[in-house]
């Protein structure tokens, strides 16, 4: 792990990049931001861990816990909202057996998130699975799509 972190350090801080970039790299490498990696970077850079933590919890992109193998992101922009994004979310929660307040399935296969707007409003409602865009969704279609990822 230290080697990976040193590699990230050389790639980012050594080139004058800020801690947001550092955290993006950590997350790209490990899938989420572990506390130890922050303490390592804090010691390495003399930037207080509180600054890292503040940044992590400010930006919705960062995650402090491991996420599922597949990331399902439901767009909740205005158009998706008026075209029924909430129904898609409740269908997904049902299908994944995810209670309110949890984002990741117990088997770590899926994480359900929402995003403000992916800017694909013409094909609303929109769902992203692992960054692949699915447009003009409805509860039936999303259930079908989900099945292909369950296998």
């Amino acid at each position: 792990m230290e080697e990976a972190l040193e590699g990230i350090y050389q790639k980012t801080v050594a080139h004058g990049d800020n801690i947001i970039t550092v955290l993006q790299e950590i997350q790209n490498t490990f899938g989420y931001v572990q506390e130890e990696s922050v303490h390592w970077f804090s010691a390495r850079t003399n930037i207080p861990a509180s600054k890292f933590y503040g940044v992590i919890t400010f930006y919705s992109q960062f995650h402090l816990t491991p996420r599922g193998k597949n990331i399902i992101t439901v767009c909740s922009g205005t158009v998706c909202h008026v075209k029924g994004a909430s129904r898609i979310i409740s269908r997904l929660r049902d299908d994944l057996k995810l209670p309110e307040g949890t984002a990741t399935t117990k088997d770590m296969m899926f994480t359900l998130e929402n995003v403000n707007c992916v800017g694909a409003c013409s094909i609303a409602p929109v769902v992203l699975v692992n960054n692949k865009v699915y447009g003009k969704m409805n509860p039936e279609k999303i259930s079908k799509t989900l099945k292909t990822y369950k296998e």
Binding site: V38, P48, A49, S50, K51, Y53, G54, T57, L64
Partner: protein
């Protein structure tokens, strides 16, 4: 110097002053919660808003530089309405348990609520819940009383250079905490406690002691290192129960953990309360009267001087006692005993 008009008063202010600073120079009061002249302006509490002729909307006086010829209004019904709403909003997310709060009487939020006569907030809704109690022996955090003025974060970062606490989350869920909500692990200087405008930060040692207004205050100088910080000893019933420092002194109100929290020794049960005498060599130290003790000191010292000469006696003065005591001590050694064998522990 620049000149500007605040509330129809002509005011001179130094170049680079903010509108708030200019107003305060002229003794014009503008309420604030997040401002402290010892730190960078923040502009978050929105209480110090003023109208400036030519600007379409109110601006915060703490962040706006005063300029020559500026015309400023610090109070009018609109500004007061906005301020009152802001205070009401703060109170709508506050425990409002002033009755049992250590800060009552010394709390900026409470004073503002009083000023705007807010018996009840028009806004009711969710309140933040914080039940955490830290293990550290010094700092009590009651984050549900936090108004997020950011003074503690700024003092820890800008002044103390530690950054032990920071903002976390955002929006209504914003919080101030150590990284990863871990236990507070810092220098415990208590600077954060000293700048907190509400009861969100206090000292654990203060709990159950009288509140600030119930105490006697004594301005004095810290007894620890050579920085010479000015401190205020707050006492009650012949006990020192709190130490603080005024922001207008040479240490600007900043103290270290020893100066701020290391005062319990004063009222320690270990304090010596009576002279002790070892009545025979190898014996125990036993209580004695002052007369008995001082008689013995004078008799023994005189005898040694008689027998072995004055230079057989030495004195060690104290780098912790006052100038007057040290002066008198060396005078005692030089005049009363007759030796220059006087030194102190400055060398180690």
């Amino acid at each position: 110097m620049i000149s500007l008009t605040i509330d129809e008063k002509k005011i001179e202010a130094p170049e680079g002053a903010t509108v708030l600073e200019a107003a305060r120079l002229a003794k014009i009061d503008i309420p604030t919660l997040c401002h402290d002249p010892r730190m960078k302006p923040h502009g978050a509490c929105r209480l110090c808003i003023v109208d400036i002729a030519g600007l379409p909307r109110p601006v915060t006086s703490c962040t706006t530089p005063a300029t020559d010829g500026m015309v400023v209004t610090t109070t009018n019904p609109r500004l007061e309405r906005l301020r009152k709403t802001t205070v009401e909003l703060l109170l709508s997310d506050h425990p409002n348990d002033c009755m049992v709060c250590i800060k009552a009487g010394d709390c900026t939020l409470q004073n503002l609520a009083y000023k705007y006569a807010i018996r009840e907030s028009r806004f009711k809704g969710a309140v933040r819940q914080h039940n955490r109690v830290d293990n550290n022996p010094f700092i009590m955090r009651e984050q549900d009383k936090c108004v997020l003025c950011g003074l503690c974060v700024r003092v820890c970062d800008e002044v103390q250079g530690v950054g032990a606490i920071g903002y976390a989350n955002r929006g209504f869920e914003s919080d101030i905490c150590p990284p990863f909500k871990n236990e507070l692990n810092c220098e415990f200087c208590g600077q954060c406690v000293s700048v907190c405008p509400t009861g969100a930060l206090s000292a654990k040692m203060w709990a159950g002691q009288p509140r600030l207004e119930g105490m006697e205050n004594t301005e004095t100088t810290c007894t620890y290192c050579g920085c010479g910080c000015n401190i205020t000893l707050h006492s009650h019933a012949n006990k020192v129960v709190r130490v603080s420092s005024r922001s207008d002194n040479h240490n600007r109100g900043w103290l270290c953990v020893k100066g701020r929290f290391g005062y319990e020794f004063i009222n320690s049960k270990d304090r010596l309360t009576t002279p002790l005498i070892r009545r025979e060599k190898g014996g125990k130290l036993e209580p004695a009267t002052w007369d008995e003790a001082l008689d013995l000191v004078v008799a023994k010292m005189s005898a040694i001087k008689e027998q072995h000469g004055a230079d057989a006696i030495g004195g060690l003065a104290s780098a912790r006692c006052t100038n007057e005591e040290n002066y008198l001590f060396q005078k005692l050694m030089r005049v009363g005993i007759g030796t220059n064998n006087v030194d102190h522990c400055a060398r180690y």
